[in-house]
């Protein structure tokens, strides 16, 4: 190993001192709990029996794969993500494209589209309860004026649709980033494309979208990670929502199940195994998106 000069050593020491707040907390409240959780997932921990813990190996994990609640909620959650993430990406992007047309009142519209995405999840859920109520919900009142009978938005058949609509309300979350990305596309590209006879659709498809794919990529990854962890939204779409609510089966999602196993059924070790499986699923899905990104994400040459 090369010997470091004193000034290089000092620089390295400064680096580690500066990142030490993150590093220490990462070890103490990140890595250690992560591994300890994995250990507890391999025991019979129920929340009370610290003195009689025994090692049960991977049996909690094999239970996960034989537990219909876990597996069906996992697939349900993944399918909902596959619906929500592309739709909300597309809506967010189209909103940005619309607003990028030198529109008057841009700050106003930007605010209207963006704000719902930063509302506290609980508040947003309470607002959608107002929308979806069966007898006194706004949507049904409006439908009533049109002579349509009340629809049970939070019932078995429509709960998933209602959940998707509610999630799409937050589509404006990436609006600012998309707007910035669109502004960053050099005007000269459009001009030379126009000279070559490209129509506006072609310009959009061949220039606008490719140049904003890095931003889209980031939002797709974050969208997947976020939507696989939906928790409060399905709870709030259950009439009389509270901390003890069990959502209807169509919106009985993976993290909801893990939460109920831990805090309602005291199956701590099993719940931790469930969460570790989620971690692995998130990791694999992110890797897939990441490795496919070289085929669809455009990077300027010279930039990593």
């Amino acid at each position: 190993m090369q010997k470091m000069s004193p000034s290089k050593k000092r620089e390295a020491l400064s680096f580690y001192l500066l990142i030490s707040p993150w590093l220490l907390v990462f070890f103490a409240l990140g890595l250690l709990p992560l591994l300890w959780g994995l250990y507890l997932a391999c025991t019979n921990y129920t929340g009370f029996n610290f003195n009689q813990l025994h090692w049960v190996g991977l049996s909690n994990f094999s239970t996960v794969f034989h537990d219909d609640d876990a597996i069906s909620s996992l697939f349900r959650t993944i399918i909902l993500s596959i619906v929500i993430v592309p739709l909300s990406t597309a809506i967010g992007f189209l909103l940005a494209v619309l607003l990028n047309n030198k529109i008057k009142g841009l700050p106003f519209f930007r605010t209207v589209f963006y704000l719902p995405s930063v509302f506290p999840v609980i508040a947003a859920g309470l607002m959608w309860q107002v929308m979806y109520g069966r007898q006194d919900g706004v949507i049904n009142i409006i439908l009533g004026y049109l002579g349509i009978h009340p629809i049970n938005w939070m019932g078995y058949n429509l709960a998933q649709t209602s959940l998707v609509l509610m999630m799409l309300w937050g589509s404006g979350g990436a609006l600012m980033i998309y707007l910035a990305g669109l502004k960053n596309v050099p005007q000269s590209l459009y001009e030379s494309a126009a000279i070559d006879g490209a129509g506006s659709f072609q310009k959009f498809w061949k220039i606008t979208i490719p140049l904003t794919t890095p931003v889209i990529f980031y939002n797709v990854i974050m969208g997947i990670i976020g939507s696989l962890q939906m928790f409060a939204q399905p709870m709030l779409l259950t009439p009389g929502a509270s901390w003890n609510t069990v959502p209807l089966q169509p919106i009985y999602l993976y993290v909801v199940n893990a939460w109920i196993q831990i805090f309602t059924n005291n199956r701590y070790s099993y719940g931790l195994a469930l969460l570790w499986v989620l971690f692995i699923v998130v990791f694999i899905l992110s890797l897939i998106v990441f490795f496919t990104s070289r085929y669809w994400v455009y990077y300027e040459s010279g930039e990593e």
Binding site: E11, A12, S14, F15, Y16, L18, I19, P21, W22, V25, F26, A28, L29, L34, W36, G37, L40, F50, L98, L99, N101, I103, P107, F109, T111, F113, Y114, L115, P116, V118, F119, P120, V121, I122, A123, G125, L126, M127, V130, G133, V138, I141, I142, W169, M176, A180, K183, I225, Q229, A232, M235, L236, G240, S242, T245, Y268, G271, L275, L278, F279
Partner: protein, 277 residues
């Protein structure tokens, strides 16, 4: 002819944008409208008369002020500590060379993939075991540790600042932290405000960690409002919906204020950093 066509296009564009804006604004506006309605009124699209009484009930039927206080402590701790600490860590990554640096940077970025509950539940079990639950200590520690995404944002921004700034300050005898505090932070205001606003909004709306780490009397507002009992005091089966709406509005207002406070910088902060992912 061309002019006419483009004028028509603009009219259609405005109609589409206005209709979409109306749809996006509708749930919040209607909740606000309903919160002003008479508590016993049948639901209608416009309140029959304006009442502030629902807001009074919203803050008196449950220990609202206690919850609010808890929200303020949690968000206050988180915003101040995270905003400062993330900048310090990012400064290390942006300006210093050291063996292992790229490893730790990749490590920070990959922590964004870990579902928070995977670490929070064992942390909760541990804190519970040593009797440290029902304090605000966890938020203190999490705040000190900074936030992976914010560290990334700061780093990207610091990398765009010329190194000569640091060097001339160092010649004048400024320490590393002094350079960060006196030179880099003041010119990084857009990103500082962006980070502060984002960490406020996420901590204000957080409900999972307060549920785990605090007793129900110490819950923050968001946690308490999931399943709060806004019912008639003498008849718990009657749910006072306009009062719940008022509470939802009250929970939302600080996040709207934070947005307007930071709006100018939010756009600028995102423009300069958000694109180089």
């Amino acid at each position: 002819m061309v002019n006419q066509k483009s004028r028509l296009n603009r009219v259609v564009l405005y109609i589409v944008v206005i209709v979409l804006a109306a749809i996006f604004a509708f749930p919040a506006l209607w909740t606000f409208g309903n919160s002003l309605n008479d508590v016993y009124a049948t639901v209608s699209l416009l309140p029959s008369s304006v009442h502030l009484s629902n807001y009074k009930l919203a803050v008196t039927l449950i220990p609202f002020m206690d919850y609010l206080w808890s929200s303020i402590i949690i968000s206050g701790l988180t915003v101040v500590l995270t905003t400062v600490s993330s900048a310090v860590v990012a400064y290390g990554f942006a300006r210093f060379r050291a063996p292992g640096k790229s490893f730790f940077f990749i490590l920070i970025i990959s922590t964004m993939m870990v579902p928070p509950l995977v670490t929070q539940i064992p942390t909760y079990i541990f804190f519970n075991k040593i009797g440290l639950t029902n304090t605000y200590l966890p938020w203190f520690f999490w705040g000190i540790g900074g936030n992976a995404f914010f560290i990334f944002l700061y780093r990207q921004f610091f990398l765009t600042l010329p190194k000569e700034l640091d060097e001339s300050a160092r010649i004048d005898g400024c320490s590393s932290l002094g350079i960060l505090w006196r030179i880099l932070m003041p010119i990084s205001i857009p990103i500082v405000v962006t980070v502060a606003v984002m960490s406020f909004q996420s901590s204000w709306g957080d409900y999972l960690t307060p549920y785990m780490f605090l007793d129900s009397t110490k819950w923050n507002l968001a946690t308490a409002l999931l399943g709060s009992s806004y019912t008639l005091p003498n008849n718990p089966t009657i749910i006072l919906k306009p009062v719940i709406d008022a509470a939802a509005v009250l929970l939302t207002i600080p996040t709207i204020f934070a947005f307007f406070f930071g709006q100018k910088y939010l756009v600028e902060g995102i423009v300069t950093t958000g694109l180089k992912g």
